[in-house]
């Protein structure tokens, strides 16, 4: 199938992009790499009147390192591609976590064009960045007509394909704190075949220096379940007590005994074991 007709604009600045989106009155969509939007438009499941291509906006490219209030952070531009991250062509604050996640996204040709910002804006609960950024404790920077704001990645998904992003807002980038040398992480994704969207995602990030011990149950029907303090869960899982996960799995909306419950529990166990291995 071929996409329905649409107009196309390639603004040079975020302000211009936001103005174009606002003028589209809900029928304009921002375009990153288009690797998720393209298939949906080809199937005419999405039929925007216009696309606002963000790839020419310089401020959405590259990374910026800042220290504010004693915390060192890195802002990763929204138009950074998955392949940029996979190959380390960015300033990595995550001690290898983000490159590892990036390498598992879809296929290389998709990673070459797909962007972090685009994936976040698409807000597929089974995609990687919405989950990885949530467990990493990242902030997502957004610009709209009223200016800029920050959304905690853990709060990004309002529902499946529904980000905390207005129709006239764009993602500028993702800000992560610099993880310490003592940081450990794990990311376990279960899918039926390489490159397919996940059936289950589980992850842990531990950084004593940042007082961080988060867990995540992802690839759910809606937003991921972020476990802000995962110390107890992690210890129990590592001690070989899978039932310790049941409360969190229930909170994630997974009916006990269901296939989904089983695979998410297994993913959590494995993510916990991986973290142990990383130690």
């Amino acid at each position: 199938m071929k996409a329905a007709a649409f107009d196309y604009a390639r603004p040079a600045s975020g302000d211009e992009a936001v103005a174009l989106l606002a003028a589209g009155a809900g029928m304009a969509k921002a375009l990153g790499g288009g690797q998720s939007l393209g298939p949906m438009m080809n199937l005419r499941l999405a039929q925007p009147d216009s696309l606002v291509d963000l790839r020419a906006i310089a401020e959405l490219r590259g990374c910026r390192r800042d220290t504010a209030g004693g915390v060192e952070t890195v802002l990763i531009g929204a138009c950074t591609t998955h392949a940029d991250i996979e190959d380390g062509r960015f300033d990595d604050p995550s001690r290898g976590f983000l490159p590892r996640v990036a390498a598992g996204i879809a296929y290389r040709a998709v990673r070459n064009r797909g962007t972090v910002g685009g994936s976040l804006a698409h807000a597929d609960p089974a995609a990687d960045w919405v989950n990885a950024m949530a467990v990493a404790g990242a902030d997502i920077l957004v610009q709209g007509p009223a200016g800029r704001r920050t959304v905690a990645a853990a709060d990004w998904l309002q529902g499946a394909f529904t980000p905390a992003l207005a129709e006239d807002e764009i993602v500028l980038g993702v800000r992560l704190a610099q993880w310490s040398a003592a940081a450990r992480w794990s990311y376990y994704k279960f899918n039926r075949k390489t490159g397919e969207f996940a059936e289950a995602i589980a992850a842990f990030v531990v950084d004593p220096a940042l007082d961080l011990c988060r867990g995540l149950i992802g690839a759910l029907d809606g937003p991921p379940r972020v476990i802000a303090d995962a110390r107890g869960l992690l210890a129990a899982l590592q001690a070989g007590d899978p039932a310790a996960a049941d409360a969190e799995l229930a909170a994630a909306g997974l009916p006990p005994g269901s296939y989904e419950h089983h695979i998410h529990r297994a993913a959590l166990q494995r993510a916990a074991a991986q973290l142990k291995g990383n130690a």
Binding site: K2, L31, G38, P39, L51, R55, Y107, R113, T194, G195
Partner: protein, 166 residues
């Protein structure tokens, strides 16, 4: 009754500067095939899954079916037709035919684009890595056996040459 929006587009296709007017909804594969008459880029799904339409955009493998032509403004696009004289591709072609890495040939242009990326980007790739990197290109004929062997053969030859040169 063509009242559909159009956009100007200037890019390089196989080393040639091209100026065109396209409907924004035209994806790169259709632009190459229907307007540039470069039919070597095959369309397999238009869903970004099968990899048959893989071409190089600014030197890297890209799904041309889910990339709008208009978003390739200023880009350098290379299709299978431009690799006749390419040494790496010649080596891959020889290995593909020796290992029977193609049958119906429909996935082949996309496979070669990906294969060339593997051998140039990942000189140390082993069989498992070749399979992983190839996983975004579907083939319904060969069971991937000949493809994996062919790419492995080229990688090995390149490693041997580098050893000799070193």
């Amino acid at each position: 009754m063509n009242d559909k929006p159009t956009s100007p587009l200037a890019l390089t296709v196989n080393g040639r500067e091209v100026s065109a007017v396209v409907e924004p909804r035209t994806h790169l594969a259709d632009f190459l095939r229907e307007q540039q008459l470069l039919t070597g880029t095959n369309i397999g799904c238009e869903q970004g899954v099968c990899g048959a339409c893989t071409v190089l955009v600014d030197g890297v493998p890209t799904r041309s079916c889910i990339t709008w032509a208009v978003s390739c403004q200023g880009a350098e696009v290379r299709t299978i037709e431009s690799f006749d004289e390419d040494e790496t591709m010649a080596e891959l072609r020889a290995a593909f035919t020796a290992e029977h890495a193609l049958q119906c040939g429909y996935c082949t242009p996309g496979m070669l684009a990906t294969a060339r990326d593997i051998v140039t980007r990942l000189p140390q790739a082993d069989e498992a890595r070749i399979r992983l990197e190839l996983s975004g290109n579907l083939c319904r004929c060969t069971g991937y056996v000949g493809l994996v062997r062919a790419i492995g053969r080229v990688l090995e030859a390149r490693r041997q040459r580098n050893l000799v040169e070193a």
